[in-house]
């Protein structure tokens, strides 16, 4: 297999960002592997393990799919109406390649608008484990590190960051 390029990784992350911002969550699910996971560690233990550390969010693929169902329901009050988000992704780097697995990092800024003109802004870093297959790169794990010392000012993490 030819070496994975940063451009390929960027294409995937940009596509993911667009799908999440546009709330095309079923299409977003198609970017994930069948064993994908999504983690947001707590700010006081960013490198913790979710088996022994209380995370903000730690989903396996089953719960990711349930989360999408919830988010698309009008009964998901925290996201109905949906937040409008706009994420900017940069500083994309490939950190390691092992067989068909690629570890990549990126920085993000995500602006979030909700009714009544509340504006919230999330800054932080993504760490991905991507998997190379016949149909190209897929996301096996996405981990979100939020920079704010405390999540406090940011309120709920009701959408997919």
């Amino acid at each position: 297999m030819p070496e994975v390029t940063r451009a390929e990784v960027e294409d995937l992350l940009y596509r993911e960002a667009a799908l999440l911002d546009e709330w095309r969550l079923d299409e977003w699910l198609a970017l994930l592997t069948e064993d994908a996971a999504y983690y947001v560690p707590p700010n006081d233990h960013p490198e913790g393990d979710h088996h022994n550390t209380l995370f903000i969010l730690a989903d396996d693929i089953v719960r990711i799919r349930e989360r999408v169902k919830r988010l698309m329901s009008p009964d998901c009050h925290a996201e109905y109406p949906h937040s409008r988000t706009r994420r900017l992704i940069g500083n994309v780097r490939i950190l390691a390649v092992e067989g068909d697995l690629i570890t990549a990092a990126a920085n993000f800024i995500c602006h979030r608008y909700r009714r009544y003109e509340r504006i919230r802004e999330y800054t932080g870093a993504y760490r991905y484990i991507l998997k190379r297959g016949d149909s190209g790169l897929k996301i096996r794990e996405r981990r979100v590190f939020i920079d704010a010392q405390e999540l406090g000012s940011l309120g709920s993490l009701s959408f997919i960051l």
Binding site: P41, H45, H51, T53, L54, I56, L57, D75, E79, S158
Partner: protein, 423 residues
């Protein structure tokens, strides 16, 4: 001149709350003096300080404090302010230190509070005495079963008396540990809610809102294979639950469980592989506590409020949650997970996973609670023209008070009102 914020009419079975209590900056100022400076306020749990010299810093009732162990292992709470000219003396969030050195002029305090070093101490000629200038502690600092509370009022009754019957429910939560010891798990959840702090008290025990606010969580449970009975007998919830008055403004829900509990009530989300260990956990409960008490521990759940602002949710997992006002329309919430100290790695992982099914800023339920509370606060902008909140549900019910009634909310507000009136 004292005034009442509630209309509590037993005859007409009506209970109304003046919405000014939820929007006013003047009320908040009064609360700081009459409630937060008079009640026992939760500081932290012994297990957060594993070894001698460990410390954490946090804000309690608006006061920056240091919660720590000294070199001998004794637990303290100090006001995090220098006796010289007031600077914060410990700037780190957590760690291990034998002393705290103020960066401003370099006064250094031992971790038992004693002032050890004053650079250039010879310049003080008068009554200056370092023995009188150790770190200040809050007026009172006491614990019940590893839960530490401070009280800013030197004349307050002791913590044991203050907790009163609430201790029985703390004991019941702790009975899920074979040794009776539980610990705070690493990892803190923090979130702000743009709502008055008292709305979180209400929300933490109000089971009336569950079917409406948490419809997507119920859906998630059902999708994962949890059987959720249709409510019957005029109830709004799948199983029966009570609201119990514990005195001194404390109260709890006491519900028959339907949602799965890491302490020995299996649901499919835990996975087939968890079954043998969960059966073992239940056998241990029965052997140690007898079948009746074991059922109480495993097959009932509760949300316990220690007045004014400590919540122990013993439901889908165990949460210790506290919150402080930051203005009349904003609060800062901190939540931890609590687990038995002897829990296996697998059981701990299950507990934390179960926690996230429901609780926290990324859970399947809490964000919708936050939304509901923020919607209340936004609606309250109309308070001057729509003054009274209706809180009569279940009032005058002859038999037991249900968790979906507002009996327990009224207990809170009566106590709150009484304390606000106290001169």
């Amino acid at each position: 001149m004292p005034r009442s914020y509630i209309i509590d009419d037993a005859m007409r079975k009506r209970f109304l709350l003046d919405r000014e209590a939820l929007v006013s900056a003047a009320v908040l100022q009064e609360e700081m003096a009459k409630i937060f400076a008079k009640c026992w306020i939760y500081v932290g749990h012994s297990s957060e300080l594993k070894k001698p010299n460990d410390f954490v810093t946090r804000k309690v009732a608006g006061r920056p404090v240091i919660f720590n162990r000294d070199a001998r292992g004794d637990i303290h709470c100090f006001l995090n302010t220098c006796r010289h000219r007031g600077a914060i003396v410990c700037t780190e969030r957590e760690g291990s230190r034998r002393s705290f050195r103020c960066v401003y002029h370099g006064w250094a305090y031992r971790n038992d509070g004693v002032l050890g070093i004053v650079p250039g101490a010879e310049a003080y000629k008068g009554e200056f005495d370092t023995k009188e200038l150790g770190l200040k502690a809050p007026a009172r600092f006491e614990s019940y079963r590893d839960f530490w509370f401070l009280n800013l009022d030197a004349h307050a009754p002791g913590l044991q008396d203050y907790l009163g019957r609430a201790r029985d429910y703390i004991d019941l939560v702790l009975d899920q540990s074979p040794s009776g010891c539980m610990e705070i798990v690493a990892g803190t959840q923090e979130y702000d809610v743009a709502a008055n702090w008292k709305l979180m008290v209400e929300n933490s025990v109000d089971d009336y809102h569950l079917p409406s606010t948490h419809a997507t969580w119920l859906n998630y449970m059902a999708n994962s294979g949890v059987k959720i009975e249709r409510p019957s007998d005029g109830r709004v919830l799948p199983t029966k639950g009570l609201a119990v008055d514990l005195g001194n403004g404390h109260f709890t829900t006491d519900n028959i469980n339907f949602r799965g509990r890491p302490v020995a009530a299996w649901i499919p989300i835990y996975g087939e592989a968890a079954k043998p260990e969960m059966e073992q956990i239940r056998r241990e409960l029965v052997e140690r506590l007898g079948p009746e008490r074991a059922r109480r521990v495993a097959d009932t759940n509760r949300n316990l409020i220690i007045f004014p602002n400590l919540v122990i949710n013993d439901g889908s997992s165990v949460t210790v949650r506290t919150f402080f006002p930051d203005g009349p329309a904003k609060m800062h919430v901190t939540a931890w997970a609590l687990g038995p100290v002897e829990e296996s790695e697998a059981a701990r992982a299950r507990r934390l996973d179960a926690f996230l099914t429901f609780y926290g800023p990324g859970g399947f339920a809490t964000p919708d609670d936050v939304e509901a509370l923020e919607l209340v606060q936004q609606g309250l902008a109309n308070w001057q023209d729509d003054r009274w909140t209706e809180m009569s549900r279940g009032m005058g019910r002859e038999d037991e008070q249900l968790n979906s009634d507002e009996h327990h909310l009224r207990i809170f507000w009566r106590r709150w009102n009484q304390m606000m009136d106290a001169v």
